[in-house]
Amino acid sequence: MPSTAIDPPVLVVDGLQVRYGHGAGAVAAASDVGFELGRGEVFGLVGPSGCGKSSTCGALLGLLGKTASVSARRLELEGRSLLGLDDRGWRRVRGRRIALVPQHPRSALTPIVAVGRQLDWYLGPHAVDRHAADLRALGLESVVARPRDLPSSFSGGQLQRLVIAIATLGSSPALLLADEPTSTLDPTVAASVLDVLAEARRRTGSAMLFVSHDLAVVAQVCDRVGVMDAGRLVEVGSPLELFEAPRHEVTRRLVDALPTRRRAWAPARTSPAGGPPVLELDHLYRYHGRAPGRSGPPSAVVVRAVDDVSLAVAPGELAAVVGESGSGKTTLARVVAGALAPTAGVVRLDGVELSAARSRGDRRRIALVGQHPRSAFNRRRRLGAALDQVQRVHGIGASRAERTDRSAGMLARVGLGAEALGRRPQELSGGELARAALARALLVEPRLLVLDEPTASLDPPVKRAVLDLVDELRRDLGLAVVLITHELDLAWTVADTVSVLDHGRLVASGPLAAVLDGDRHPRVAALLERVPADPRGPGRR
């Protein structure tokens, strides 16, 4: 959708500068940012966190707070300058000419007021009745049916649609500001929200500024993309230009981090060593909530989180378990690692059945790395103490000094310097913490490593590096690895075998090629469908 030169631009940003603080201590969050948006055009702003995307957005809404100072050569919306507007002036712009689609729909709506009431705030009285048809069209039947419910009783996807409805139903804003609108959503949901957003934009004819850290998503949605780094707009171009010929270093890094589909997946890179399986799951069940028939009120709902799962993992094998959120992946990981007892069924390690109450020795042989590296460590303990602790309880190392040496060695192995031993978790980045969590898991020399979405909260480049590390380690150490993920492309990149969970049941399982190619299970097909396409390949929406 190329911009037409005849129409005047909707938004003109020229020489935008945002600074926080005063005088010598002032920090520039955005320097000399400039771009234009034509009518109906979608412009993407992409870059790592802290690059100045949010400050640029905030400046367009006049909501940067009192510590920020904004200056620009030009900052114009539909030909009217936004510089020097007073509160009343801004109120005429906000919501009417510029509408925000926020990053966290769940916190953007007030948690203690019914959704219907909140719609009334923004769209006028009886909004639900007046806009019932539009809301249904946006897939918000649930809101029409239950306007008195609180936001907490709706899903993230529904809330994001609701926010889009608020932004676009009341007026036809000239500009939609979409600030990472899908970053907290599942890929499946994210895809449908993007559809809704596109539909709403078509209806209102608004231009859109789309901010994201995910190049793949930006490429999918935008006409033109600007890459930001350290407060500056370093490169602007069409998605294809950026992917094919990235000119700037930052752009290149972003592109490189995109998962690449393993071209030759038929022969696995490393064939799993033969021999009996390390891990066997035999008709494993795990229900949440009180099982019926027990004493007490029968009200509790039983969730079949893991429902008759049988699986075997060979030595040295990297087995991926994929599924959407709520499919029971994490529960499965926790049952395998012994954090939860199975409701029924058997977990065998090296052919030996593990009891529900795991011994310390059993725990040493299966290590779990959880979803959020930031909360995996006691925030008040230095890393050295944390690494010492797991060794000490398993009687590894005769002295503290010896254990410290091992810790340092393992940190080096995961790519961290020994100085990290003296750091607290808050002083480490997410990527460093993910590595540290891996180090802690490996220090006790487990037979099996269970990774529960180890990269879900990491930026793409970091994500990639951590996965490469896992792949390397398991080859070096001959570890069996169970990798839990909702990102099918990850499995695609590193796994030997893949198992697909749906509502607690295993719908497909086997070597990567066998599962993903040819005669796919419908669920698998659906998952594949939602992997953001490589803009270099075919299939761009």
């Binding site: 012994g338 909360s375 995996a376 460590f377 008040r380 602790q389 309880v393």
Partner: protein
């Protein structure tokens, strides 16, 4: 800023309480004329019996400090293990039992409870199971009892949060035992949370000690306490002995304000460090 003012006030209060009694003469000796205004010889003036008010205020500050510190320490000693034990048994009967006991002491406000417990025994020492308990010890015990629910709840609540946090599960899965978890991980993490509250509790304890003395239920004569001094000073105000009512009162206010400000700052720091 507030932080520094608080430290200064608390520091001055502690300094007066610790060093004051050493510098000053006896708080009970009749060293001057009655109701002398402040002078070089008696920087805080003298009281209605001719005793040096600097010595008495310093001694009173010391008593306040000792009583309230001891009370808070005693309360922690009881409340923290109880709170941790309750958190460990979260939702099961030991937890219920601890929380019910804690609740039953909260049927009246804390200060009323202390007045009630002290009032029941009357002033003066008592024999408890054959052990001589001085009035001061009883005051400490009663104020401490008033704080037990407060600290037990905080200890329990923050320990529950800790025990349900992801790192604890990670450590459990890694084979770290429950005792080790509780002693080495949970307790040290609960400590700063309590630490921030300790100063706020100290402020309340200093207030309560003064209030008890004011009602005549406090530390007995001849030890001066800040509450006693204030209670005695009320009448002197009519005679223009402003220093008598003002100075001990300001010392008390300084102590409480200092504790409050430093405690606030500590709580703020804690929140900030957790957010980081």
């Amino acid at each position: 800023m507030a932080d520094r003012v608080g430290t200064a006030l608390l520091g001055a209060f502690v300094l007066l309480a610790v060093v004051g009694p050493v510098l000053a003469g006896s708080p009970t000796a009749l060293v001057g004329d009655v109701l002398e205004p402040p002078s070089w010889a008696h920087p805080f003036g003298t009281d209605s019996l001719g005793r040096d008010l600097f010595a008495r205020t310093a001694d009173g500050a010391r008593t306040s400090l000792v009583v309230s510190t001891a009370a808070v320490a005693l309360a922690l000693l009881v409340a923290v293990p109880a709170g941790l034990a309750a958190a460990r048994a979260h939702g099961r009967w030991p937890d219920q039992a601890v929380m019910r006991v804690v609740e039953s002491t909260q049927v009246v406000p804390q200060f009323v409870l202390v007045v009630l417990l002290l009032g029941l025994g009357g002033a003066g020492p008592v024999q408890v199971l054959g052990v001589h308990v001085s009035t001061t010890a009883r005051i400490v015990a009663c104020i401490a009892l008033g704080f037990v629910p407060f600290f037990a709840r905080i200890a329990r609540a923050s320990a529950v949060v800790e025990l349900e946090s992801e790192y604890v599960e990670a450590l459990r899965v890694a084979g770290v035992g429950e005792r080790e978890l509780l002693v080495r991980d949970v307790a040290p993490n609960v400590a700063p949370v309590l630490g921030a509250q300790v100063l706020l509790a100290l402020a309340i304890a200093v207030f309560a000690e003064g209030g008890l003395s004011f009602l005549g239920l406090g530390v007995p004569a001849p030890h001066p306490t800040l509450g006693n001094l204030i209670a005695e000073a009320g009448g002197q105000l009519l005679d223009g002995a402003w220093w008598y009512a003002l100075i001990p009162g300001l010392v008390l206010v300084a102590g409480i304000t200092g504790c409050n400000l430093v405690g606030d700052a500590a709580a703020d720091r804690l929140v900030r460090s957790d957010l980081r």
